[in-house]
């Protein structure tokens, strides 16, 4: 029996691009098929039944039909459009940061339901606390884990000895934490991005690794620990992604803006 030409799935919209006169080329992350590029025919017309369903960061229940090159979206029903997240500029940019990483790490025809679930959990956590960056750090660490790039946090990646409490070093390209005997603080191998890792930051990383996202306590971290955590995870994500994360620069720009009221 021939394979059915139509199928249904749940998908998070990541990007959209105009295609032809009135179509949209979508990049979606689906529960069942991983990353998927599909076409929404006529969806740029204001009277299209599909209009408004495919803004980035919208979760839809979709019906698609198999196309010769790209699949065609035939029906869409919004499950969650993350409207709380989109009501704040910082929240929206954090959401786009998650979408950009999901687009970068997700691969086509390679389902990863754990990554799909992680992304939705992270977006919902951003909605719960728009001021906190902890959901982004959680997402970065677990994105690395579910993609098979989890950095080592318990043993030295060189000598394999269990790490003792104290100051350590961290190598994004070396695969994780290094003890000071293998990588003394003053030693910087040429071309490597080895950096210092304080005990507090290592403890936060381990806590993020072990604790489910909704149970993560509201941590009061000092600025140096928060910055070190961001730097360690950001460098590791950039290393595996092999490119800059574009939305990060706007996210950092927003942190320097005054918090003046939003008029609408």
């Amino acid at each position: 029996m021939a394979a059915p030409r139509t199928y249904r799935t749940e998908a998070l919209s990541l990007r959209k691009m105009p295609l032809g006169e009135a179509d949209i080329l979508l990049t979606l992350y689906t529960r069942d098929d991983g990353k998927l590029r599909a076409v929404a025919k006529g969806a740029r017309k204001t009277t299209s039944k599909l209009v408004g369903h495919f803004e980035p960061l919208t979760l839809n229940r979709l019906a698609l039909s198999k196309g010769r090159n790209l699949d065609i979206v035939t029906q869409a029903q919004v499950i969650d459009n993350f409207s709380t997240l989109k009501s704040s500029l910082t929240g929206l940019t954090q959401g786009l940061y998650i979408a950009e990483l999901l687009d970068g790490f997700g691969s086509e025809a390679n389902p990863n339901p754990e990554l799909y679930q992680l992304s939705l959990e992270a977006l919902r956590a951003v909605e719960r606390d728009l001021a906190s960056e902890m959901p982004l750090r959680f997402f970065e660490l677990h994105l690395l884990r579910v993609s098979g790039f989890m950095p080592e946090l318990y043993h030295c990646v060189e000598c394999r000895r269990t790490l003792e409490p104290g100051q350590h070093r961290f190598s994004p390209d070396g695969g994780g934490t290094l003890c000071l005997e293998c990588q003394p603080p003053e030693f910087q191998p040429p071309g490597a991005s080895v950096r210092n890792l304080s005990l507090s930051t290592l403890k936060v990383l381990r806590m993020l690794h072990r604790t489910p996202l909704p149970e993560i306590p509201d941590l009061k971290m000092g600025q140096p620990v928060a910055l070190e955590l961001k730097s360690v995870l950001g460098a590791t994500v950039r290393y595996w992604l092999d490119k800059e994360i574009r939305s990060n620069s706007f996210l950092e720009h927003l942190q320097h803006l005054p918090d003046s009221p939003v008029y609408f």
Binding site: T47, H53, N81, K86, S260, V262, F264
Partner: protein
């Protein structure tokens, strides 16, 4: 498409096909059809087309006030004394000015941003004509700023960024209504559009 990919065409024709192929929405087949159409045109029409392209590249500049494309700066809208000088409508690109002008219901001035903030594509506030907008607003002449960016995620992000940059003053900040399009259908509308339509309902 390179010249080597068009082996059977004469070099001058192959070059025309290659140039047309660079235009947005024009694929290799369309480029060939357009090139053969241009060959069949009367000489004068083909020269007019070439001259129009040359002239537009020489003459078109940004209006010093609204940043719209014009061949004389300031443009005819900014210098028109009949237009309300205390209203500015912020749009994404010059085509939006044409669309709004067709409605004949707005008589203020415009400001063209030439894009929207798109963090995922690396487009930030510095790549848009936002500095020019804030400099126009600092004169204190403007009483209402109407944000008419598209109701997309990037359009909304740009609107929120502008509102966050402005401190509460005498300036009234508004944006175009969101909701159902004329000829649309409630049944097929997404929940965000419907909820915005409810929020913006009006007394009949």
């Amino acid at each position: 498409m390179t010249l080597d990919n068009i082996p059977s065409a004469a070099p001058s024709l192959a070059r025309l096909i290659q140039e047309l192929n660079r235009l947005p929405g024009i694929g290799p087949k369309s480029a060939q059809r357009l090139a053969y159409h241009i060959i069949r045109l009367p000489d004068q029409e083909a020269y007019d087309l070439a001259e129009a392209i040359g002239t537009v590249k020489q003459k078109i500049v940004f209006c010093q006030e609204c940043q719209n494309l014009t061949d004389s700066s300031p443009c005819s809208i900014c210098t028109n004394p009949q237009r309300h000088q205390d209203q500015i409508c912020v749009v994404e690109d010059p085509l939006d000015v044409l669309a709004l002008e067709r409605t004949h219901c707005y008589l203020g001035l415009y400001h063209v941003l030439h894009g929207v903030i798109s963090p995922m594509n690396g487009i930030g506030p510095d790549q848009l004509k936002l500095k020019e907008l804030f400099s126009r607003l600092s004169s204190g002449q403007v009483k209402e700023l109407i944000i008419a960016t598209n109701p997309t995620l990037e359009g909304e992000a740009t609107a929120m960024y502008i509102s966050r940059q402005l401190t509460p003053t005498d300036l009234t900040l508004t944006h175009l209504a969101r909701g159902l399009p004329v000829g649309g259908s409630l049944e097929y509308s997404d929940e965000l559009t419907l909820s915005r339509a409810f929020q913006g309902r009006q007394q009949v």
